[in-house]
Symmetry: C2
Subunit: 372 residues, 2 copies
């Protein structure tokens, strides 16, 4: 079977590592010939995944196509789907999720709990809703990795907002942020991964590390799972989906956002679960049975980000110290250059002991630095 | 760092899956452009790994070279080593192991327990040693996957032997066959994997499945580990080594043979150990610290071999039934054609319960068939 991936970043790289357990023939399209996935596929095609002709020509001789980023040309995928190509996720699901206004309206339409919001077209619109602050202002399209989001605490912050279509989302008193990955196959069978929890640095408001399975109350887990399932069922698409949710101070669960693809919150499944999220997506695409989502051991993920004030050819300080640790798994994405905050790799830690996970996660964060 | 692999089979494929966790730039040389490793490296070079010029030209611009098969041009590797290239394992270690006469003499020279043997140059030589039968006649060079070995029970079998340099090895009353993988880095530090045991089909005398850690007496384990370590220390080479041993009916431990590379007996380490044998070899080559060899859970390996009487484009019967099993990991090597006995893939099973491992191993053997 010939399967194409639109996008050649680290998610594509890890998908291709998993693909080599099967007989699938892989194709990748991406502009950057030195991207993390370029050399791990059978066929690399240099091209713009946002361009209609490029995507259509890439897909027309393949059996199936998947994405590793939402910023792809949907019209080309719709035409390919109409011609009988299998697309994971469906173009209609990408369309809903790609635009934050559509995504929020989708939750509302299906009575899926999510933070209250107002659609704004310009900063003038935002000024009409000062009573709604504090809120997060989220650009409808083109946001990525924290870009395209501004927290507006009060009137004075409005200048930081977006003078373009956006969602103004009322701030929630968050107790915990969690994520649930769900797989859906062509027969509408689903498999739910154990819930993961994000632990944030209270000072920097940056994701510090992630733990899985999450330490949350069973009632909260039930709510979260049923909400995540409702999101995925209503998207009416096969594929792999990551649903990010908030648990608020009252124990209510709200959807934050959904990704219709393999996701940063599922990296640990490579080592820590019987079927990794990457293996699971191949099972869906190749029409094999869904895999076992269970944890083998609890795990943590630490993201390796480019250090502040370093730009250029990446070097990894402290790597040997991390590789010496007993139960850690290092993944570097092979990006040639670093810049502040760029995702350069991740480290998974496995242990039955959450104290050990947290201790090692903190140690790794303070040990491993990407400089230039 | 630029690292080359001589050979592009399944061991190369799995090495390259592991390489993508690091920033190494990979090169593979192999004659067959459709070999399992061809599309997972940065640079594929079509060439004959037994040819001096091909190997020398392949290696001269690299930082380090490793092998996934012993049948390589050693003179070229010696020249490259003399010019400062790092070679894992050293050419001298490959030289000892590649020729079964040298290998047996090496064990003898270092007082390493191994079955008694006689060197034979022709069938006439064998006829001089009828008193030595039953014995295994092993071709000095070029044997592979059971080819190049003939069991000579008595005088009448001698015609099946080799009229070429070979080893006549006295048959041992075997209680169990085991294997130990040992890693050695440039600083002569070593790391020993848990011992694995081979379970043979008593009727077909074929490897049925493998279990790890082995169910053997502690005393036998100590002997086996100290013998395997003696083998590796005397080879005086960094690299990854698989030492295959017999435990005889008296509990004595004898070396069968050694492979100076990643090995079939270590496939399970991908999922079932903190540091896989593939990851370990990269750590050695990239001069990172050695990894943790411990088991996460006990495991079994079932090899997926081409079924008898099928030649041609491979199809996998029963694959869905195996993929439905909860704690199994399927690895297909992507070989386009099958033939009887060809290694087409393997399945790893993980469980705390050896009965579950054995039950599933048998089930997989009877379910998954490679046909054409």
């Amino acid at each position: 079977m010939k399967v194409g991936i639109l996008g050649g970043g680290q998610l594509g790289r890890m998908l291709l590592q998993a693909a080599a357990n099967y007989t699938v023939e892989t194709y990748v399209m991406e502009q950057d010939e030195n991207c993390p996935a370029a050399h791990l596929c059978h066929h690399f095609i240099k091209g713009n995944i946002q361009d209609f002709d490029a995507v259509y020509n890439f897909g027309k001789n393949l059996d199936a196509i998947t994405i590793e980023i939402e910023a792809v040309n949907i019209e080309a995928l719709e035409k390919l789907a109409a011609e009988g190509k299998r697309i994971y996720p469906s173009p209609s699901a990408i369309k809903i999720i790609k635009n934050k206004i559509h995504q929020k309206e989708f939750y509302q339409q299906h009575q899926i709990p999510t933070a209250n919001f107002i659609v704004t077209q310009s900063l003038k619109d935002v000024e009409q809703h000062i009573h709604f602050l504090p809120a997060a202002h989220k650009l409808a399209e083109g946001g990525y990795d924290g870009k395209g989001v501004q927290i507006l605490q009060s009137k004075n912050d409005i200048v930081n907002g977006f003078n373009a279509p956006a969602v103004l989302e009322k701030s929630v008193a968050i107790k915990k942020e969690i994520a649930i990955i769900i797989a859906v196959n062509d027969n509408n069978e689903t498999a739910i991964y154990p819930c993961a929890e994000m632990v944030f640095d209270p000072v920097l408001n940056l994701l510090d590390y992630q733990l899985s399975p999450a330490r949350i109350e069973e009632k909260e887990l039930w709510k979260a799972e049923s909400i995540a399932l409702a999101v995925v069922r209503n998207l009416k698409s096969a594929g792999l989906f990551a649903v990010e949710l908030f648990i608020d101070k009252n124990g209510e669960v709200l959807v934050n956002e959904t990704a219709p693809r393999v996701h940063n919150s599922g990296h640990h499944t490579i080592e820590a679960n019987y079927c990794s999220q990457y293996d699971m997506l191949w099972r869906i695409i190749l029409q094999y049975p869904l895999g076992n989502t269970k944890s083998i051991l609890p795990s943590a993920i630490v993201n390796i980000l480019g250090a502040e004030n370093y730009n250029g050819k990446a070097t990894y300080e402290g790597l040997n110290d991390v590789l010496k640790m007993d139960n850690v798994f290092v993944h570097l994405y092979g990006k040639q250059t670093t810049k502040a905050g760029r995702k350069m790799g991740h480290v998974t830690i496995m242990s039955n002991d959450y104290t050990d996970l947290i201790h090692k996660a903190n140690k790794i964060k303070h040990t491993l630095k990407v400089k230039a």
